[in-house]
């Protein structure tokens, strides 16, 4: 019975999160619009965009290879797996032991490599520009993320996310200074990896300022829809990883149906607050020059490493 309910929880969590990911993106954009005194397109806009894109005919360049065509599906699959692993709604799900925090970072790296290769596939200058910049951001963001997650792992003596959530959420309330450093570093990495201001402007139409958008310029129709959906899934995954580590209260245990309902409600509240916070951060910052981005991320990396050091020197 525990097995079956675990599997139901797993499927439920994955499907639920995949379905509400565009809503999260829509909410962030709507908050940004309100903060900038515009009326905004409404929180359901990403769904309309996805629907429109799926209806269109796909147009591919003559030289597009099989790699180019399969990347959107691979991306979507990676992000689906990511939200299946992160204890969004419940811990001790059957898939959760499939990956720990290191494997999660590796999963995001896999997605990043594939989308960069797809950017280079057609051979346009913008595609390679986007790929080059994305890898430049990625080579610092990935270690910074890893170090942040290691800080949490060192505190809970485990790299397995459910154990981390259990230790930090259901253990006694202790204030960890190293988590303060890790939290700052995590927010910086989240902004960088999800192509938000101050690293990248997700709504720009000037190609020379693009990072993420430049790589996917050649995609259209259902491919573009899947890439956009995967992007919103990635943002949701990062936010929920942040919740799991820094704000882990409210996550249910598997098999506990009431806990699941509470967890879902808590999740919605947390997502709303996080989305508003993200919109606020984006509104008060300006986009950086491209070569300030490595400095920004270098700072995140150093902060995360410093967090780990503080843990060793103060808390152990």
């Amino acid at each position: 019975m525990k097995q079956a309910s675990g599997i139901i929880f797993q499927v439920l969590q994955s499907v639920l999160v995949v379905l509400i990911a565009p809503l999260v993106l829509g909410w962030v954009n709507q908050c940004r619009a309100w903060l900038q005194n515009r009326s905004g397109p409404g929180v359901w806009q990403p769904y309309r965009v996805l629907n429109k894109l799926f209806h269109k005919d796909a147009v591919l360049a003559h030289d597009a290879s099989l790699l180019f065509r399969s990347t959107p599906y691979i991306l979507f699959g990676c992000m689906w797996l990511a939200v299946g692993i992160v204890p969004v709604l419940a811990t001790s799900l059957p898939f959760a032991p499939a990956a720990d925090v290191i494997a999660l970072v590796g999963l995001f790296a896999l997605a990043r490599v594939f989308v960069s290769l797809a950017g280079m596939d057609i051979g346009t200058s913008f595609g390679t520009l986007g790929a080059r910049r994305e890898m430049m951001i990625g080579f610092l963001a990935e270690p910074a993320m890893l170090m942040t997650l290691f800080t949490a792992s060192l505190i809970s003596h485990s790299t397995s996310l459910p154990t981390i959530v259990d230790t930090l959420g259901h253990g006694e309330l202790v204030i960890y200074p190293s988590m303060a450093f890790a939290a700052v570093a995590f927010v910086m990495v989240l902004l960088a990896e999800n192509a938000r201001i101050p690293i990248d402007n997700p709504s720009t139409h000037l190609e020379l300022t693009m990072i993420h958008e430049a790589m996917i310029l050649e995609y259209s129709a259902r491919h573009l829809a899947l890439v956009e959906w995967a992007t919103s899934l990635k943002l949701t995954a990062y936010i929920t990883i942040g919740f799991a580590i820094f704000v882990p209260w409210g996550i249910a245990q598997a098999g506990d149906w009431e806990g699941l309902l509470i967890a879902f409600a808590v999740l919605l509240v947390k997502l709303a607050l996080a989305g508003a916070g993200l919109a606020l951060l984006e509104t008060v910052s300006a986009k950086m020059r491209i070569f300030r981005a490595p400095e920004f991320l270098g700072t995140a990396f150093m902060l995360a490493t410093l967090g780990m050091l503080i843990h060793f020197l103060l808390e152990a």
Partner: protein
């Protein structure tokens, strides 16, 4: 791992914030953000002194909290704002060593400071014994900031941040200094800052710029 009482954890958290602010000051290029960070550091310092005062029941530390707050969060930052407006120096700071290298050296300094403080922390009996290392670290980091900067105003801020670190060391290791000593130091700092201000005007008149490398022209040959 047996967890510490809530007050110790709070002090640890504030200590970590202090260190975070010291690091953040290393990476800032603009004077305005430096002043804001300095004010934030003063605030964190006042808070931690408040917590120490409350848990150790030392009413004269409350006085010290008030003085710290008044001086470091209000008076000095206001004075610095006035100074930079008068000197017209809201520009980007060029640093002598680039920022990632500074952060690397900063991390090495932190490890060094902690190793230095480790034997002392063992024998100290206060609730804040593990924070001595952080205090020494933030002193060293502010010193690094002073070395790495070209413009005079940021060097003053580094000097003031160093004093913050010293103050924190005092509260964490010995539950504050005798009030007289503390007031004396604070007045010294105030007067020192005023003197700095006067000097800046002089430097600017002589060299048309506040870049301290111009002071090298004062050599004999």
């Amino acid at each position: 791992m047996p967890s510490l009482p809530l007050w110790s954890q709070l002090i640890n958290l504030l200590a970590a914030l202090l260190l975070l602010l010291a690091f953040a000051m290393l990476t800032q290029r603009r004077v305005l953000s430096l002043i804001r960070l300095f004010a934030a550091q003063g605030f964190v310092l006042a808070l931690s002194t408040l917590v120490v005062a409350y848990t150790t029941n030392q009413p004269d530390l409350y006085m010290s909290v008030a003085v710290t707050f008044g001086l470091k969060v209000l008076a000095l930052p206001w004075f610095l704002h006035w100074l930079i407006r008068k000197l017209n120096v809201q520009w980007d700071i060029e640093t002598v060593i680039n920022i990632p290298v500074q952060m690397l050296v900063g991390i090495v300094l932190v490890i060094f400071a902690f190793n230095l403080a480790a034997p002392i922390s063992e024998i100290a009996g206060t609730i804040t014994k593990s924070t001595l290392g952080i205090a020494i670290a933030s002193i060293l980091l502010s010193f690094l900031m002073m070395i790495a900067r070209r413009k005079a105003v940021s060097q003053v801020i580094g000097f003031l941040a160093m004093e913050n670190g010293l103050f924190f060391a005092a509260t964490s290791a010995t539950y504050g200094m005798p009030l007289v000593v503390e007031l004396g130091i604070l007045f010294d700092v105030l007067v020192g800052t005023l003197v700095f201000g006067v000097f800046f005007f002089q430097i600017r008149e002589t060299f048309e710029s506040l870049d301290i490398h111009h002071l090298e022209k004062l050599k004999d040959r």
